[in-house]
């Protein structure tokens, strides 16, 4: 091996998670993990060695969509339900195929009083125009010159993300940051109610 002593960065292959500190009866230990490691469905066993992974090659499969049969689009049970994603922000989970959900949600938005300004199925994005009150200082340079609060319309991105079974909807601002909690809940509940009608 190389003349240098072994590389500390690779020592992770030997690192094992130690057991929790056992506490004698009658006392407990105030424990609160600063760096929690998310638990995974299947238990992962430690890799023996490391080799830089390569992305899977792209295989041209443009017939995937065409072959899906027509009746798959009959809208099966969607049973939309509110949920939270890994990072704890609100999402709307839907069962069924991406295609059928995309149509159903388009219907639902059209029926609701959300204003759909644009949509792009390939990136799974609905562009919603929302009326928000913007305090003076956040507005553009010249606009912020002149003071008083303003009601202006802003674009929000309603994203339909593929999950293992079904899809889920999340709301982002047009700068790809998470929209604030209350606004997200309000939008998702409106769509959920329209989906159930």
């Amino acid at each position: 091996c190389s003349l240098l002593p072994d590389d500390q960065a690779m020592a992770y292959l030997q690192a094992e998670e130690q057991p929790l500190t056992r506490v004698p009866a009658g006392t407990e230990l105030a424990v609160q993990d600063a760096y929690p490691i998310p638990t995974l469905a299947q238990q992962q066993q430690r890799p023996g060695s490391f080799e830089v992974p390569r992305p899977a090659p792209y295989i041209e499969d443009n017939d995937a969509d065409a072959v899906t049969s027509l009746n798959e689009y009959s809208s099966g049970a969607i049973n939309a339900r509110m949920d939270k994603d890994g990072a704890g922000s609100a999402i709307l989970r839907l069962d069924g195929s991406y295609a059928s959900n995309w149509a159903a949600v388009t219907e639902a938005i059209a029926a609701s009083d959300l204003r759909l300004s644009d949509l792009n199925r390939s990136t799974g994005t609905y562009y919603l125009e929302m009326q928000t009150v913007v305090p003076a200082e956040e507005r553009g340079w010249w606009a912020s010159l002149w003071g008083s609060d303003e009601i202006i319309s802003e674009t929000y991105l309603l994203k339909m993300n593929r999950a293992r079974n079904g899809v889920y909807l999340s709301l982002l601002t047009d700068a790809d940051t998470l929209a604030d909690e209350s606004l997200t809940l309000d939008v998702l509940k409106q769509i959920k109610s329209k989906l159930e009608q």
């Binding site: 027509l70 009746n71 689009y73 009959s74 388009t106 553009g140 010159l145 047009d174």
Partner: protein, 833 residues
């Protein structure tokens, strides 16, 4: 009519997937359908926003959908833009979702021009005009050509302050950041209007008045208007000055925690002074800082004026809120990618778990700066969530190259070309220890040295360092120093420890062996010395070194003082017993941001003791060059040697006075031309009279009262300096920020004025039996002779590079005397001023 749909066929589909079409077209195979369902279905498909046209046909029971997709934008060209580059504009478009790959709709066109106009208005170009043109491309794609007319930037044409009597408009407008267009505006763009700048200017206008006693000053209204052609901005500010108020009484209130005079000492305003808001804020800052030093980091002190309009006076009350005494929960360091955590932590005066003191935290920052490892050091003290009396202290540092790894082919003014390699690291492997290993070879010095210093051998900062060296010097080729050769071999151990957080004391014990060889034209002093002392000396040296430093930074300090006293003694039992003392002082004080003044002085004295009356000549102080009196070749200043020369007496001179030498048998003149010769004739009463000697050496002869030569055999060697046992140097430097350079953290530029020289406290008296009358050194005067002090001025620049500090100086010697060797431009590697 109605029919049963057997199948649905799509035609004209490109990018949109069939699945999307099927699901946006709610007709199911095998379902009874009539024309109204089809119409609503196709409208629903149209509403998906992906198609510019949807046609329905029927072929038997098969439904055919003729679809024309909306084109996607594949290129956005922008032309005519100069003020904002294209990438910036495209980024702006991308932010609002208008980027390549977007489905093209009429509304996108309008959104694009609105967005671009907004960007130009943001730059003050109010009359910018955008025209977009859509170009169809094959495969149903479209590219947009955007023509931009940027218009001109509105500049401020007029600022008028109405209602000012005490101060003229010019005086007030000088405080403003916004100015009307002037010659300089193209560079400073101070005539571009912005609301923040105006708000800032109004604030400085208000403080201008409040700092001069106008406590009732008020800005009635401000109008900003733009000319119809949108090229000029006009600002009118209406103010009411009110009267000047003076301070009546100053009181303290609240929980003082410390006794009263700790606060009154810090007042900047007393009864009768004109009221000044700045002085009030500055005094309350001092008071809260004073409390901070006692652990009340959250202390707040604010001066509240109570205005008495009749007498036009103000009663000032300082409300003191110490808040809770705060403690430091944890001290964290970030940015130290190379340096170990302990190297930073051991510099801290503030302890984790102790009560927080602002000046200890601030001192921590200065000490990190003094290490010289970091370019910038910042500290923040955020409160710990959930507590009102605990803070964290977070230092964020930016490392800088703290050593030089030079396999260098260098050139130093003093010693010509340098060949060799040297690795010196002040922060060796991030451990904070200084290590340097060097081999150097040039035409005068050949040296090998190794030195290692651990500044924190103990946790309290007791340092220990080793130094081993072997050096061969041969000054013959160097025509500036007296001609001799030495080979020295030695080493020493030094121990140092802090005696306060600003002063350090250190001892060193060393041994040194020196071998001496004579050069060719050797001055008498050396010949005498070698005769008396021999040419191989062992010395056992003891060194004492005291250093006080309150410099604010290790590298390029701008404030603070530094004193260094060093005393080295070669203890009895060594072959040469002498002592040498040196004192260096540096005093920096800032005069404005980025400007500072430095005073430096170097004093030195050495002497022999025991059976050695003089300081050994190779231990002499020398002067000149970078780090000493710039403008004079390095080491050439100081007393000169008195080399001997052969004496030839001759009787005749030819017609024009040139000496005719005696001829030996072969007819060659009897003279040793390897050494310069002085030729004598004797005048009538027998005293020696020197005739010209052809070479350029200045013969040493002094004529006594009746004009006859008193001394004969020595000449004053002009170039070769021997040095002296007294050194006195001083210099003054003005440190200025180099213009047009952004990052000056690794640059220092100075204008300097140097003065100084080396002297001798006891002149050497040459002895020569041939000339008994020579009783004193003709050209030496003892002690510091002001006439001999050399002056010079010039500019210097030091640049910290990866291979070490690089110094350039251009100097002008002011009173160099005949025979001085001066240098206009000097350059050296590895030496900071």
């Amino acid at each position: 009519e109605t029919f049963v749909v057997e199948d649905i066929r799509l035609e004209g589909l490109q990018r949109v997937s069939a699945g999307t079409v099927f699901e946006a077209f709610p007709v199911i195979v095998g379902e009874q359908v009539e024309s109204t369902d089809l119409v609503s279905a196709s409208r629903n498909l149209f509403r998906s926003g992906l198609f510019s046209d949807v046609q329905l046909y029927r072929d038997g029971n098969v439904l055919i959908l003729q679809l024309v997709e909306l084109p996607t934008i594949t290129g956005i060209e922008i032309s005519g833009n100069k003020a904002i580059q294209t990438e910036m504009l495209l980024d702006g478009l991308k932010q609002s979702g208008l980027a390549e790959g977007l489905v093209f709709k009429r509304s996108t066109l309008e959104r694009i021009s609105l967005e671009l106009e907004r960007q130009y208005v943001a730059q003050g170009r109010y009359d910018a005009h955008i025209e977009t043109e859509v170009v169809a491309l094959p495969r149903n794609r479209v590219s947009l050509n955007i023509e931009v007319e940027e218009g001109s930037v509105a500049s401020i044409r007029h600022i008028n302050v109405v209602g000012n009597e005490a101060f003229s408009d010019e005086e007030l407008l000088k405080q403003f950041e916004l100015q009307t267009s002037s010659f300089w505006s193209w560079y400073s763009s101070d005539d571009k209007y912005s609301r923040e700048k105006l708000a800032g200017d109004l604030e400085s206008l208000r403080s201008w008045y409040l700092d001069r006693g106008y406590i009732r000053f008020n800005i009635e209204s401000t109008q900003v208007s733009v000319s119809p052609d949108k090229e000029g901005v006009y600002i009118t500010i209406n103010i009411s000055e009110g009267d000047v108020y003076s301070v009546a009484e100053v009181k303290l209130a609240g929980n003082l925690v410390l006794d009263e005079d700790e606060f009154t000492r810090l007042y900047l305003l007393k009864n009768g002074d004109t009221f000044s808001r700045r002085k009030v804020t500055v005094s309350s800052d001092y008071m809260s800082k004073r409390l901070g030093n006692e652990g009340y980091t959250f202390a707040k002190v604010d001066g509240i004026p109570k205005i008495n309009d009749e007498e036009k006076t103000v009663d000032l009350t300082f409300f003191v809120e110490p808040g809770k005494r705060t403690y430091v929960r944890s001290i964290n360091f970030t940015g130290n990618g190379g340096t170990r955590d302990e190297v930073l932590r051991r510099e801290m005066l503030q302890m984790e778990g102790g009560w927080a003191s602002t000046d200890k935290i601030e001192a921590g920052k200065n000490r990190l700066n003094q290490l010289g490892f970091f370019k910038t050091v910042n500290v923040e003290t955020p409160a710990v969530a959930g507590t009102d009396d605990q803070i964290d202290v977070n230092y964020s540092v930016e490392e800088q190259l703290s050593g030089s790894l030079n396999f260098n082919v260098g050139y130093a003014g003093g010693s010509g070309m340098i060949l060799g390699a040297s690795i010196s690291q002040n922060n060796f492997m991030g451990s904070g220890n200084r290590m340097s290993l060097g081999v150097q070879k040039n035409d005068t010095v050949q040296s090998y040295n190794f030195s290692y210093l651990n500044p924190y051998y103990t946790i309290d900062g007791v340092s220990r360092g080793f130094n081993l060296f072997y050096r061969q010097t041969d000054y013959s080729s160097l025509s500036t120093v007296s001609d001799y050769q030495t080979n020295t071999l030695g080493g020493n151990v030094t121990f140092g420890y802090p005696i306060s957080n600003r002063q350090r004391l250190s001892f060193s014990i060393g041994y040194q062996n020196t071998e001496m060889f004579e050069g060719t034209t050797v001055p008498a002093e050396i010949i005498d010395f070698l005769e008396n002392e021999g040419d191989n000396f062992n010395e056992y040296t003891l060194g004492l070194n005291w250093r006080y430093s309150s410099l604010n930074r290790g590298l390029f300090p701008t404030a603070g003082t530094e004193h260094k006293v060093s005393a080295d003694i070669s203890v009895p039992g060594s072959d040469l017993t002498y002592f040498k003392m040196a004192y260096t002082a540096n005093y920096y004080f800032p005069i404005a941001t980025d400007w500072a003044v430095r005073f430096r002085t170097d004093l030195g004295y050495g002497d022999g003791f025991g059976d050695l009356q003089r300081l050994p000549f190779f231990k002499n102080f020398r002067s000149g060059g970078i780090g000493s009196v710039r403008g004079y070749t390095s080491n050439t200043l100081g007393p000169k040697g008195l080399p001997e020369y052969s004496v030839v007496s001759v009787v005749e001179q030819d017609a024009d006075g040139n000496p005719l030498y005696e001829l030996d048998e072969l007819g060659r003149p009897v003279v040793d031309d390897s050494a310069p010769t002085v030729v004598y004739t004797t005048d009538e009463d027998g005293a020696a009279v020197a005739a010209s000697n052809g070479s350029q050496y200045k013969p040493v002869y002094v004529t006594d009262s009746n004009g006859s030569v008193v001394t004969a055999p020595y000449y004053l060697e002009d170039e070769r300096a021997l040095g002296g046992n007294v050194l006195a140097e001083a210099s003054m430097e003005l440190i200025f920020p180099l213009p047009f350079v952004e990052d000056r953290s690794s640059l220092r530029s100075v204008v300097f004025f140097d003065a100084g020289n080396a002297f001798t406290s006891e002149c050497y008296v040459p002895y020569d039996e041939e000339v008994p009358t020579l009783t004193q050194h003709p050209y030496c005067n003892e002690g510091i002779d002001l006439a001999e002090v050399r002056l010079s001025t010039g500019v210097g620049l030091t640049w910290i590079t990866a291979i070490g500090p690089l110094t350039f100086t251009y100097s002008v010697p002011l009173n160099d005397k005949r025979g001085d060797r001066t240098e206009g431009f000097e350059f050296s590697l590895g030496q900071v001023f």
